[in-house]
Amino acid sequence: MKRSLKTLSLLLLGALLLFAMGPASGQGVRLVSLFVTFGGSELNALRQGLDAFTSATGIEVIVEQSREIIPILRTRVAGGNPPDVALVPRPGVVAEYARLGAIFPLVNADGSDGIMSAETLHANYSQGLIDVGVVDGVVYGLMAKANSKSTVWYKPASLAALGFSVPSTWDELIAITNAYRAAGKTPWSIGGQDGWTLTDWFENIYVRVAGPENYLRLFVTHEIEWTDPSVVEAMNLFRQIIRPEENLAGGAEGSLSRGFIDAANLVFRPDAGAELYYEGGFIGGIVSANFPDLRPGEDFTAFLFPAIRPEYGRPVVGGGDLLVAYRDTPEVREFFNFVAGTEFATIWAATGAIVSPNRNVDPSVYTVLAALDAGQVANAEAFVFDGSDLAPSALGGDAMFTGLQDFVSNPDQLTEILQFLEDVADANY
């Protein structure tokens, strides 16, 4: 008994020593740890690109994944144990870390190389997409994937039967809405249980009412207040979609108890409960997976969110993930330069899982649906990042979600809702 105890403690001691020596004994293996938010097939698609990196450089990439990436990164940064690099879905969070000094500059303010080569960046990215990752003049985030959130999904057969073609102005969109209702059909499906579907609606309307510059003044700098007439105007336009309640499948209450996937299914399933669905480009993949019989581009497809004011046209509101560096090692530097290059972008884009913001990716690698999304990103008159992701998290998450959910259930309270958003904004900028 005593003997075995002794052996056990020796073993434990040995294990501890080994553990303590871990990194040193692992010399020769070059590693980069990467934290991402998406899993499943999306992650498998990313791995194809990462494998190309490993075979080109000999550096292994260790991927960690969690949908709760923001809370986990916060605790790990605070605990001094961040991953080497992470794909962060919110530019607002990137700015937060940049100002805390937790992440390294990719390209310095004077245009010189930081973590990565400024030349590679400018060769492959347009200035509009680089700007998304800029904080106080320094590039801190590299937009590694992008997607359009200005896609309105519809069924061409249903729209043709109604006697309409694809709308290019807001008035036409409302005319289609009314015509569907008059024909005894429900025009819209909304997945408002996921608050961000509503913020996406608002952002597309707002950027078309106030223009991209004011859009950034509202979300990024808070120079425009939430009680501003331009916000009121945008909200009142949104009201034309959500009222009368017969416009919405399940009315206001049904819209708020349905997630974004159920809302898409409702429109494209055989006994459809609605005719139109607005959400980002990624909906195409979800619909094809759930309804394999539908032909993408023919049975279902999307049009670009219509224009409201002619002078602002049809800017693309988009989302995406920004690659940031929590550590500055030679491996991390190689990783950034590879990810920003065309080989990686092309491999990843060819999987059909993402749209690459890299302008040198050959459009022919995309599937029908991804080409639609990529076309919107590449040909955008202007590209603005999803505003709720630009704003500080307390405002862009929580507050906007619940404020807009309140608006869907009770649009007469607009004044109180905007005052509430302004109060939250006031406390967070």
């Binding site: 916060r74 940064v77 249980q193 500080p392 929580d398 619940t402």
Partner: protein
């Protein structure tokens, strides 16, 4: 033989050190953090009581008295305290007393205790299915549609007026088994002669329960009740899994607010202020439980 007083101190030293490191230090740090912005989980800017003032004047998810009934996480927690405690202790007691007299006691108690064996996350997911507004998924709506012809499915978790009751019910489902087992043990431990004396003296079942049994198991009821209250005040998991505090923030409770503000919104100071309020609310119940333990210690 007279021993040195230091011996006593030496004996409690290890425990004292552990308590200081793992309880006292974090508590003091949390209190200090609640007076700070807590940017990046560090003490960065002392702002006095501003977090607390904002919580009670500007945060309508936490404390909103502008409408009747008042809303916000604090009031939702109060609702939880009332309904969850009454539900678990009440139903637990009922089953413990009734099952005591029937043949299938073990079977009944096993079924009611079973949910305790499931993790709360799993239980939350199960109940999310049960409450689904789609009758093809949600058994509750399927039953409703089957028995009430022409009824519309009810979005149990999607309606602000229902969501709290729906989540609390799931909580009661999980915890009733615990209350039942403890109360049942207390009942089994009652001296038989007293109960027999009551029935010989002609007391009805009702009177026996209220005048004989209840006074004797009352201390246990109080302990189970306070344990449940402490449980509720720090509850988090069910709300996180089932509703994420929604719809429209209607099902937030203080534990959930603490998490969202600290980790999702990155406002560690604000989240700590919520934690301090939680601590203040729990202290009276801790004292009650401690007193009860001490009283029992003396009577031994």
């Amino acid at each position: 033989m007279k021993t040195s007083p230091f011996i006593g101190w030496a004996f409690i030293l290890p425990a004292a050190v552990l308590l200081a490191v793992y309880l006292l230090y974090p508590t003091v740090l949390t209190i200090r953090m609640s007076l700070d912005t807590g940017q990046g989980f560090r003490l960065s800017e002392f702002i006095g009581l501003r977090n607390f003032v904002n919580l009670f004047t500007k945060d309508r998810f936490f404390f909103d008295v502008s409408r009747w009934p008042p809303r916000g996480a604090l009031f939702n927690t109060a609702l939880w305290v009332a309904l969850f405690t009454l539900g678990t202790v009440g139903i637990g007691l009922l089953v413990a007393v009734l099952a005591n007299t029937v043949r299938y006691e073990v079977l009944i108690k096993t079924i009611i205790f079973m949910p305790m064996a499931i993790s709360f996350t799993a239980a939350g997911i199960i109940w999310r299915f049960v409450y689904s507004p789609d009758p093809k998924i949600g058994v509750l709506n399927a039953l409703l549609m089957a028995f009430v012809p022409g009824a519309d499915p009810v979005p149990w978790l999607g309606r602000t007026s229902l969501v709290n009751y729906a989540v609390i019910f799931a909580g009661v489902w999980i915890w009733t088994g615990f209350a039942m087992v403890v109360l049942s043990a207390a009942i089994k431990g009652l001296p038989k002669d007293v109960l027999e004396a009551a029935s010989i003296d002609g007391a009805s079942g009702w009177d026996t329960f209220w005048r004989v049994m209840m006074p004797m198991i009352w201390p246990t009821v109080v302990v189970v009740g306070t344990t449940m209250i402490i449980n509720v005040l720090k509850a988090f998991d069910l709300v996180y899994v089932m509703t994420q505090g929604g719809p429209r923030g209607a099902s937030r409770i203080i534990g959930y607010t603490m998490y969202v503000e600290t980790f999702t919104n990155g406002r560690a100071g604000y989240g700590s202020a919520v934690a301090v309020i939680m601590l203040i609310l729990i202290i009276p119940f801790l004292i009650m439980n401690l007193r009860r333990f001490r009283a029992e210690g003396r009577s031994l």
